[in-house]
Every structure is written in C-alpha cells, then in structure tokens.
Symmetry: C2
Subunit: 174 residues, 2 copies
Amino acid sequence: MAFELFRRDGFEKVTVDDLAAAAGVSRSTFLRYFGTKEDAVLGTADARGERVAEALRARPAHEGEWTALRQALEVAIEPYHQDPAASLAMTRLIRDTPALCARQLEKQHGWRPALARALAERAGSAGAPAIGQWVRASAALDCLNAAVDHWSDSDGRFDLVTLLDEAFAALGPS
Amino acid sequence: MAFELFRRDGFEKVTVDDLAAAAGVSRSTFLRYFGTKEDAVLGTADARGERVAEALRARPAHEGEWTALRQALEVAIEPYHQDPAASLAMTRLIRDTPALCARQLEKQHGWRPALARALAERAGSAGAPAIGQWVRASAALDCLNAAVDHWSDSDGRFDLVTLLDEAFAALGPS
DNA sequence: TCCGTATGTGAAACTGAGTGTCACTGTAGG
DNA sequence: CCTACAGTGACACTCAGTTTCACATACGGA
C-alpha cells in the first residue's frame, strides 16, 4: 500500500512510478485516479469536511454556534477513535512532510465555506455567512488541529476529546 | 515586474523563464534568488509573521492575550493602509490562484509557533505554549484572514480595521 | 603586481510531477 | 455481430526545481 511505502522511504523519495508499480497499475492510471501524489494520502479529506458540515446542520437549532461546532467535530475525530494507531501514523506522516502538511491545510481551508454556510442556515439566514460565522468556523478547525497536534505530540497518550474540549474552552462561547 | 506579468497572464501561464527574462537575469539566478515561483510573490510573508510576533511581545504585560493579539495585528495590516490599491490587487491575485493561496496558507501557518511562543513568554512561562495559546494565536490569524477576505470582497470599500474588530469580537475575550 | 579565494552569475543536464493524446481491450446493449 | 463506451497503458510533452560545472569579477595578503 502507498502509505507503507511513504512511511518507509519518505514521501519525497517515493515516485509516482513506484506507487503505480506497488498498486499494480500504470503511471497513467494512478495519476488519473488520484490526480496528485498527495491525494493518494489525503484523498478522503474533502469528504470529511462535508460530513462535518452535515453534522453541523443536524445539531439542534437552539444550540449555540460554538457548542454546535464542537459537537459536529465529533465526526471529524471518529477515525482517531476507530484506529488510533493508524491515525497516529498518518498524522505523523503528514506533519513530517511539508508537501502533505500544506495540502492538508489547503483541503481543510476548503471545509470552511460549507461550515460557515451551515452556521448561516442554522441561524435562518439565507444570504452569505456573517464574518463572525466565518471566524468561528475557522477557529473550530484550529481547535481540531491544535488538539490533534498535541495528541500526536503525546504519542496518543493524551485524550483527544479532552484536548479538543480544552481548545474550545480557550476561545469561550461567543 | 513579476506581479504585473502574473496579473496580466495569470500565475500559471507565466513560466520561470518569462520571469527571469523580465527581470533581466538567467533562470538559474531567478530560482536561486526566489527559490520558487510562489516566493516571487509571497517572499516577504515570513518576515511579516516575525514582525507580528515582535509586536506581540511588545504589548504591555497586563493586557489580555486576545487584546494583545488584536493590537499586534496592526503591524500585519499596515501595508493595507499604506497602499490599499496594491494590497487589493495582490490579495485578489493570491485568492484567485490556488497555488498562491496554498502557499500563503502554509506561510501563515508558520507564523503560529512564534505567536504562541510570544504569548507563552508574556505569561511568564518558559516552556511550550499551552494549547489555549496555540488556539488563540491561530484564531487571531483567522480573524485577520476573514477580515481581509471580506475587505477584498467589498473591493476595499469596507473598513479593514472595523472588519478586524468585528472578527475579534465574534470570538470574545477568553 | 600577482596569487589565491570567495561570491555572483550563467549554461546545461537531470529528475520528477502532471497533462494530453492515441491506441487497445473488454464489456454492455442493440 | 456490431457499436458505443469506459478503463487502461504507452508515450511525448511542458515545466518546476536541483545539481553541477564553468566563468568572471572582486577582495585580501604576499
């Protein structure tokens, strides 16, 4: 699998040809399928953002935005509960590879319009999200990242849920 | 100038050879100087992060972290006051070019350790910043970005300072 | 003045990612 | 049986970024 190759040799050392060979397909097919080398690792990230936005829309209307965001992020940390070891390895690979780090940042950046729009809908506004909603959506993702970073720094010993709650608490309810 | 070429033909269309020719140097020299094509546009971003961190350290000790961050960001928006038209054009170019957008995100991401450390020092802690400090540093940058985005969406008609204050208010003091 | 040495520049070859095109193959539907 | 189409592979191409070598100019000491 691609992930193992990356972990063993480092993301930069593994060429697309290596990956294609490992997958048993041609270089053409590999690139047609994944688009880029980064997406062979981060391919599922876009979908996760959509799932968080859905979860956000599903939160009860009376709930405050900050609380709703916190609860919606449960969807995002699900994989960490399901398979902590794999998640830790993946997180480390990304953190230690500038190209992956940048690409993940970019993908998460793409989550924000959907999150901000979900907040606006919850508030009953049909138009564009207010600046405060953008900021809260962004800040929630920062909380997620800060929590995951601390979690991986602790080799997975700290509790991710606790870290996430701490992170959210640091910005207080709006 | 490189910026004009990018604006006219689009970032992707302009090759490094074009840029080198426009600058009157060889391709080698151009790449040696800037490192990457993106850095021909975003070269000064790293330094700006350092300047914000300095400004943060210079804030009075009694000031709350959130207020200190807000004040420190005055340094970051200075260029927008100095030359709004140029800043608007630059912001648009970056926003409309995925590669530049990603690279800027990455650079800003690199500001956060310095900001978080500055917050930790202000608090008298010699060790690593607390997760709350990381989150607040990150959120402050989100506020900056949200304000600048809204500002550029309004063609520079909205007041950047007001937008930034609004953004900061949306997360309330910790 | 002459001789190193360092620094800036250019030329060129090379690697590797991503794109586009074309041909081949199997498969589903008529 | 024939056609249409989706999946695949082969190949050529562009371009970014790296590396290496060569040259030229400048600086400091003998």
